[in-house]
Symmetry: C2
Subunit: 332 residues, 2 copies
C-alpha cells in the first residue's frame, strides 16, 4: 500500500504563560502547519492514527500552559509542542487489535488535524454515535462524568441541594433537588444568579436558599466559596471540583469563613475525575438514557477550525461562551 | 432535716467582650459572693446540688462571652449570670434517683462553690476515681473524647500522620504514627515545633514531614492551616476541631491554599464533640486503660481558687499554660 502523506495544521505552545495572563492574549499559542504525516501507522506499531473531528476547550488547559515548579495533577505543556486536550476522533489507520479504520473514539489528542496516538488503550470507543458526536467532548465524556461522580458519589444527595454547572444541576433536578445555575430557564433550574455580577454573594445565596444549602458542587472558589460557607446547612457537603475564579490570580483569594466547617459539621472534599475513569461505561449508558428521554439538555458553543481555537480557549475565562466550548476541525 | 445554707462565691460575666479582647483584660468577669444557698435540693425537685471541685478553662469559653448575632453551636453567656463550663463535682444532695449524696460526677456546672443542677441527666458518674479527679476535666472527659473521636472516627488513621494536641498525638503514637507536637520529649512525639515562633510554617512542616502529612488534626487554623495544605499527601484527611489562632481576630485570616483540596484529593471535615457523647463510656474505659498502662501521659496546669479563674482562662490565649488549664475549687 502506497504511503499517502497529508499536511497537518496544528496549534503549538510558543512560550509559557504567567498566571495573570490566563484570560488574556493568545500570542503564546501559534497555529502552524507541521510536516506532512503519512496516513497510516508505521509497520509493526501498536499505535493508532486518528483524524481529529472535535477538540475540547477546558479551563484546566490554560493552567497547563504555566510552568509549575511543584508538579500538579497533570503535566505542563512544552513550548514548541502541540497543545493537547480531549477530543472526538475517527480512526484512519490502526496497529492495535482493539481498533480499526472508521472507528469513532474519544480521548486525549492533539490540537491538529491528524494525531498518531501511541497509547490507544487510553481511547474510548463511542457507543452512542446517534447523538451529536460533539457531545463526546462534554456531556457524554469527562465533563458529564465529573458531574456524575461529583454529584452521586461525592456529594451523596438526599433531597435539597445546590449545584453549579449545567449537567450537575440537571442531575440534581432528576433527584428532586433545589439548584442554582446561570441558565435556569434553559435547564429548568429553580433559581440562578451570575456570581460575577452579584454585589453581595452571601445575600444572593441566602435569597436563593432561604433554608440553607445541603450540597455545594464547587467550581468557582474564592469569594464565591467564602459566601457559600455561612449558607451551608448542618452536615452539608462541599464537593470541590475546580476554582475557575482563581486560576488567573497571582495569589488566590483568602477564604475566611472556614470556621463554619466546624460549627456546621461540614465535609469539604476534593476530587479529580481521572481517578474515576472505571465508572465511565456505567455513566455513558445512564447519561445516554437521560439525553434520549430529554431529562438532560445540553448546550454547546462550537467554533470552526483550528485557527479559531486559541481565542475560543481564552474566551471561556472571560465568560464569552454560552455552554460547552469546543472546536470543530473536520466532519466524520 | 434543718436547712443549712452557705455562702457561694462565684465568677459572673459583667459585660460582653469584643472579639479582639479575647486574650486581654479580665474585667468583664467579676468574682462575687452570691446569696447563701441551702445545702439540699428543694422538696419534690429532681435537681442535684453539687459542690464544685474542679472547673475547666477551655478556649471556647471566651467565645461564649461574645454576643453573637447568628447563633453558634453553643449559647452565649448572659451578663450578670455565672460563667459555666465542664467541671468535676461531688453530689451534696439529690432529688434524682440516679444520684445520691457523695457521688462524684462530671458535667456542665457553674464557676462557683455550689451549683444546683436542674438537668442531672446531663451529668456523668465518674467510673475511675482512682485517677486524679482533675483528669475528669480533660483526658477522661470531653478533651480526651474529642481526641479519640476526632482521631479514630474522623481521621481514619492508617499508618503515618500528623497531629496537634497532647492526647491525639499520643493516640497517634499508639497507632505507630509520626506526629508533631510542642512537647515531644514529654509525650514521646517524633518531632515538634511552636507555630507561634516559626517564621516559615510551610518549611517547618516540610522539615518535620519530608514525605508529607496524611492526617492533620486541626486546632489552630489560619496561617497554620494554610501551611498544612501544600504539605498534605494525596488523599489525606484534615479533621477540623478548632481554630484557636482565629478567635480573637476581628476578621479571620484568609486561607489561600484550598486548591490543594482538589489536586491532592483531600477531605476536610468538621466536628463538634457534643454530637459524639454516646461514645463516652467506651472511650472512658479505653482511655483509663491507656493511662493505667502509661501509654498516655497527661499534664495539667492547676490554679487554686475561683479568684484565680478569670486570669487562668485568659492565660490560655496567651500561651501561659503548660498542659490542660483548670481551677481547683475544693477537695472532695
Amino acid at each position: 500500500m502506497a504511503l499517502v502523506a497529508v499536511s497537518n495544521k496544528r496549534v503549538i505552545l510558543k512560550r509559557y504563560l504567567t498566571a495573570c495572563e490566563i484570560g488574556q492574549l493568545g500570542d503564546e499559542m501559534e497555529v502552524v502547519t507541521a510536516e506532512a504525516v503519512p496516513l497510516s501507522v508505521p509497520a509493526g506499531s501498536f499505535a493508532v492514527l486518528v483524524k481529529n473531528l472535535y477538540i475540547s476547550c477546558d479551563p484546566y488547559l490554560r493552567n497547563r500552559m504555566i510552568r509549575h515548579e511543584v508538579p500538579t495533577y497533570i503535566s505542563d505543556f512544552v513550548p514548541g509542542e502541540v497543545v493537547t486536550s480531549h477530543g472526538v476522533m475517527k480512526v484512519i489507520s490502526s496497529g492495535h487489535l482493539d481498533f480499526k479504520a472508521g472507528d469513532l473514539v474519544w480521548g486525549m489528542t492533539g490540537w491538529e488535524e491528524y494525531t498518531l496516538i501511541n497509547n490507544p488503550e487510553s481511547l474510548f470507543k463511542i457507543n452512542y454515535p446517534e447523538f451529536p458526536l460533539s457531545n463526546y467532548t462534554g456531556v457524554l465524556e469527562m465533563h458529564g462524568l465529573t458531574a456524575y461522580v461529583g454529584f452521586f458519589e461525592m456529594s451523596k444527595p438526599k433531597k435539597a441541594c445546590s449545584a453549579i454547572g449545567q449537567i450537575v444541576g440537571q442531575l440534581a433536578k432528576i433527584k428532586g433537588c433545589y439548584v442554582v445555575n446561570l441558565l435556569k430557564t434553559k435547564f429548568g433550574f429553580d433559581d440562578a444568579f451570575n456570581y460575577k455580577k452579584e454585589p453581595d454573594l452571601e445575600a444572593a445565596l441566602k435569597r436563593c436558599f432561604p433554608e440553607g444549602i445541603d450540597i455545594d458542587f464547587e467550581n468557582v472558589g474564592g469569594a464565591m466559596l467564602d459566601a457559600v460557607l455561612p449558607n451551608m446547612r448542618l452536615g452539608g457537603r462541599i464537593t470541590m471540583c475546580g476554582m475557575i475564579s482563581q486560576y488567573h490570580l497571582e495569589r488566590p483569594e483568602g477564604v475566611r469563613n472556614l470556621m463554619y466547617i466546624i460549627t456546621k459539621r461540614l465535609r469539604m472534599e476534593g476530587f479529580v475525575i481521572f481517578d474515576s475513569i472505571a465508572v465511565y461505561r456505567q455513566f455513558e449508558e445512564e447519561m445516554a438514557g437521560y439525553l434520549r428521554e430529554g431529562k438532560v439538555t445540553y448546550v454547546e458553543d462550537i467554533v470552526q477550525g483550528l485557527d479559531a481555537a486559541p481565542a475560543a480557549l481564552i474566551g471561556i475565562y472571560n465568560g464569552l461562551n454560552v455552554g460547552k466550548q469546543l472546536v470543530s476541525i473536520a466532519q466524520a
